[in-house]
């Protein structure tokens, strides 16, 4: 079985000479089909950079990176990526439905199929009745759900999420996490998730990669052996707290 993401000795340096900043160094990563991997670490640890390398929004300085056995560039051309950013990045002039249809339009999906698919996706994120609204008429959480629906509309092999819930309040955030897990289970997609939040990383992931800065490296890898069905009970599970503590300790141990 081909790995969804395979990285060997990946590094990224911004700038040259004295100005050069090593954002990532010697990253090894293997990610299988259906994995949910969180990248966690302090600001400047390169977690977003790693996500951007995987998504071909930036090129590595050295090392090897393949996505489904292809180059990231080819994977992008094949529309293997669904991207969700911290801001929903919805286009103001499009209705919710038209925003979800955007990637499908670019892929020349026929209009009838586009609108069926958009409606399905909006049902999936429970926004069916808001299809005709404009983005500014929705709350931040709803906008982010539209962004997720858009990212999943063309059934990408890999969902890349860069602090998608960073701007949301705690209540909304927990509900969105539940939603993402449900979508992940229903679509069977693989997810790379960048976050600042330890509980979020533990609650969502099959594996948490702890990153440390200067230069950005993966310092620890923690398998999350919580039951695959996760809900409110999971958040009370003693194992959940143990894992949170482990991630926290892993982050702290490099704090010097």
């Amino acid at each position: 079985m081909t790995l969804v993401v395979e990285a060997k000795g990946l590094s990224k340096t911004f700038g040259t000479g004295d100005e050069a900043v090593r954002a990532l160094s010697a990253i090894d990563l293997e990610m299988g089909q259906g994995d949910f991997i969180s990248l966690i670490g302090p600001s400047g640890c390169g977690k977003s950079t790693l996500l951007r390398l995987i998504g071909d929004l930036a090129r590595p300085t050295s090392g090897e990176l393949s996505i489904n056995g292809k180059s990231p560039h080819q994977a992008r051309l094949d529309r293997d990526y669904g991207m969700v950013f911290q801001s929903a990045t919805l286009l103001d002039w499009r209705t919710v439905r038209k925003n979800v249809e955007l990637p499908l339009e670019i892929m020349d999906v026929p209009a009838a199929e586009r609108s069926t698919r958009a409606d399905q996706m909006l049902e999936l994120v429970q926004l069916g009745q808001f299809a005709g609204h404009f983005p500014w008429q929705l709350s931040g959480g709803m906008q982010q759900r539209v962004a997720i629906a858009r990212a999943l509309a063309f059934r990408p092999a890999l969902l890349l999420m860069d602090e998608p819930f960073g701007a949301l309040d705690e209540m909304t955030r927990e509900l969105m996490q539940q939603e993402v897990l449900r979508l992940w289970a229903e679509t069977g997609t693989s997810v790379v998730f960048v976050t600042h939040s330890i509980p979020e990383a533990v609650f969502l992931s099959t594996r948490v990669l702890v990153m440390t800065p200067r230069p950005g490296t993966i310092s620890d890898e923690i398998a999350i052996d919580l039951p695959s069905r996760r809900d409110l009970e999971t958040r009370k599970n003693p194992r959940y707290f143990e894992l949170i503590t482990r991630v926290r300790d892993a982050l702290r141990s490099h704090d010097s």
Partner: protein, 274 residues
């Protein structure tokens, strides 16, 4: 629905929108009436001579008496302005697309364009009269076209280029071609900039046409009509012509406002106030 974020911003009803427009435009209408009354009152009270400042009542009666003539010359000038506007805006839009599409073009052309923008373009009117012949309507249209070109080109280019980096990354992540990004992100993004520049350009095109007329050419146009009536000491007639020029300018502006609303009903400036 999970219901945790269901609060929708409700749109206000139509009747309250009308009430709001009354409160919004009421002060402007009142101020306008007040200015006219003060103008009439002070000119009467101080016995200001008509050649210094005509009274609103004199202007109105001249406006009605010379109705057909003054609108006739007005529409000829409007034709020059409109022609120039269409030519200038088309050229500006084409340049903007090229500037947004090709970095080399942008870096080579834009500084020159911005430098040329600070040139007083109406000063070119005698030159254009010489090129096209002073009686050729195209001599006036070209002045209007050049005047309109720069603000529209500079603003539209800015709108096409100043796009959220996130939106470009989104398009990149789904492997959109530059043409698709242009169509689906850059152009909608540039519309507010484009229409803002059209509002400026509409007034500029009329000003340019009238000033160009002052430099000579056919007599049956606003600029020459104003000169001739002023030379004959028929100042209320000249003022009536200025009134026509203003009305044409306002009408032109309103047409663009309506077009703007139709082209981008989604825009933040048209949302109901909360």
């Amino acid at each position: 629905m999970t219901g945790f974020d269901g609060e929708l911003r409700a749109g206000a009803s139509r009747s309250s929108a009308m009430r709001r427009s009354a409160t919004r435009y009421g002060p402007a209408v009142a101020a306008f009436v007040l200015v006219i009354l003060l103008w009439e009152g002070i000119t009467r009270l101080l016995g200001v001579e008509t050649f210094v400042l005509a009274k609103p009542s004199e202007i109105m009666s001249s406006f009605i008496e010379t109705w057909a003539t003054v609108w006739g010359v007005g529409f000829r000038t409007l034709w020059e302005a409109l022609g120039g506007f269409v030519i200038g805006v088309s050229a500006a839009v084409l340049t903007s697309f090229a500037a947004a599409r090709w970095v080399g073009f942008r870096e080579g052309m834009l500084p020159i364009a911005i430098a040329m923008n600070s040139m007083p373009i109406v000063a070119l009117a005698p030159i254009f009269n010489n090129w096209f012949g002073s009686t050729n309507v195209f001599a006036k249209m070209s002045v209007a076209a050049v005047v309109v070109y720069f603000p529209v080109m500079i603003n539209t280019t800015r709108g096409l280029l100043e796009v959220e980096p996130r939106e470009l990354e989104l398009m990149r992540s789904v492997a959109a071609t530059p043409t698709e990004t242009m169509r689906r992100v850059r152009i909608p993004h540039a519309l507010p900039f484009f229409f803002a520049s059209l509002k400026v350009a509409s007034a500029l095109s009329l000003i340019a046409a009238i000033v160009a007329e002052y430099f000579g050419g056919p007599q049956n146009v606003l600029g020459q009509y104003i000169i001739n009536r002023a030379n004959l000491f028929q100042f209320p007639d000249a003022w009536a012509a200025i009134l026509v020029a203003s009305l044409l300018g306002i009408a032109f502006y309103v047409v663009i406002l309506v077009a703007e609303r139709l082209a981008m009903p989604w825009h933040v400036s048209f949302r109901e106030a909360e």
